[in-house]
Symmetry: C2
Subunit: 294 residues, 2 copies
């Protein structure tokens, strides 16, 4: 199967699981469930769930388990987008090509919809089908650490806010990228492996792979913010430079950033060199992430 | 031991556990860890952790386990206070007698500090000492449901926001009270029991007990909002009436509300009638909750 077919078919499956695992719109109180679904289904490429799926399938994991896990992580990701877009944070009106949650539902409901997606994520993780309780807990620990304050998503967001407008420094840049987006992307690869019953060696290899791919994803995101348009990205382009954000291209320039991303992908592919045929999709996904245009 | 000694000694212990289980202030990035600790240690009676402790001790549960669980739930509670106080929600400047999180650290950091406490809560729950993985997961499920959108804390907050200024109706009042604060208080009693290895009969009895005590707590909160002062409460008094909130006294009047609370406590004590001497503190705690003045 070629990667673009895999991406579109997987996205459809992920959306089915999200549809099933989110509370129905009609449930009381309806406004919050509408707001949650609005943001989850407002577009999005489902990169994180697809990473979970491809990682787990490289070890012949169970699709149903991986799709439930991927859907839960997409809820986590969507909560972070809703809160990041709030006026007090990035103050963004556009996300995934449509108005942001607070623009449609108001700030109060957007804050609560983020909280609710975060909470629902843990409910789904606690009930992941066909896994042992020990594996469920390992996944919960991994996701919580990847989204927390210490080298996790919230920590990255704090440093991002605090470094705006200040001179970029490579140490902060590294922290920012590995924590703000890298940690959750790495957790996708790791948790996919855990859910597929990875042995220690496979888990270590995929952890290394995920760590590099997470960084590549963010470097490419920084590049696209400069070279692409709001229409193609579905979010406001050029805002990193405007907000003087600490990005790879701002510090190293566009070409060096592109080279760094390509080198990292090559190294990531080395990490899973010993994997068989089943890892072909995961390899294609790594190449796709560095060559994507949106 | 009399109840006031128990309350003050337990509060001290809970604070020790919170001190230990929250990330240190100096950890990177420091601002978020300061904001988290600021709100957690800005006062608070620790009613929820003490309920966990008293419930678990009524079944001879392990103190260390119960205190870790209680501390995690206090983090959850504090997240909800920080987000509720935000300008877009209740817009409150005073909480537990001191300026609210967003007044001190700004809105962005307050939103993230709430997110971070919510996340840290699950990390602590996933690592609760000396419990089986199955019990840890049962507790995680209970807490997530109690704080979610369907009959949980976020659902209650949504209905609270949406019912402001509208005529109070008893169905909404019931929903509001059972979900906004009642669900988590009930979960404290239930999870304390789970952590103490309760059998089904004891768990059912404590679930009934917790459900009533949760409602009593909120009715008394509503009464105190009218009859007490900001100085004594450590938060703005009289704001329910000002915001035309759906409260018990607004619908039933003060005296009927007091009677309702007293009746519920009597019924709650019936639920745990068969419990032994070890439940004496829990009984005193129920009586304290209805007679408290702050």
């Amino acid at each position: 199967m070629d990667i673009s077919t895999y991406l579109s078919e997987s996205k459809k499956l992920v959306d089915e699981y999200l549809m099933k695992l989110l509370p129905a719109e009609g449930m009381e109180p309806p406004t919050i469930h509408k707001a949650m679904r609005y943001s989850v289904f407002a577009g999005g490429k489902r990169v994180r769930p697809i990473l979970v799926l491809a990682s787990g399938e490289s070890l012949n994991g169970d699709r149903e388990v991986l799709l439930s896990l991927g859907a839960a992580i997409e809820m986590m990701h969507t909560y972070s987008l809703i809160h990041d877009d709030l006026p007090a944070l990035d103050n963004d009106d556009l996300r995934r090509g449509v108005p942001t949650c607070h623009k449609v539902f108001g700030e109060a409901m957007a804050i609560l919809a983020g909280d609710a997606l975060l909470t629902r994520c843990y409910e789904v993780l606690a009930d992941l089908p066909r896994l042992s309780d020990t594996t469920r807990l390992s996944i919960i620990r991994d996701i919580a650490a990847a989204t927390g304050t210490i080298n996790g998503m919230i920590g990255g967001q704090v440093v991002d806010l605090e470094s705006e407008g200040k001179p970029v420094n490579p140490r902060i840049l590294e922290y920012l990228h590995s924590s703000k987006t890298g940690a959750l992307l790495k957790a996708c690869v790791r948790c996919g492996a855990l859910a597929a019953g990875a042995d220690e060696r496979a888990l270590n290899a995929l952890t290394e792979f995920g760590s590099k791919i997470g960084l590549v994803f963010q470097i490419v995101d920084d590049i696209l913010d400069i070279t692409s348009s709001s229409e193609i990205l579905g979010k406001t382009a050029g805002k990193d430079e405007k907000a003087k954000k600490a990005t790879y291209p701002a510090f190293y320039g566009l070409e060096a950033s592109r080279n760094k991303a390509n080198d990292l992908v090559a190294l990531a592919l080395e990490d899973i060199r010993d994997f068989g045929e089943e890892a072909e999709i995961l390899r294609s996904l790594a190449r796709f992430i560095v060559s994507r245009t949106a």
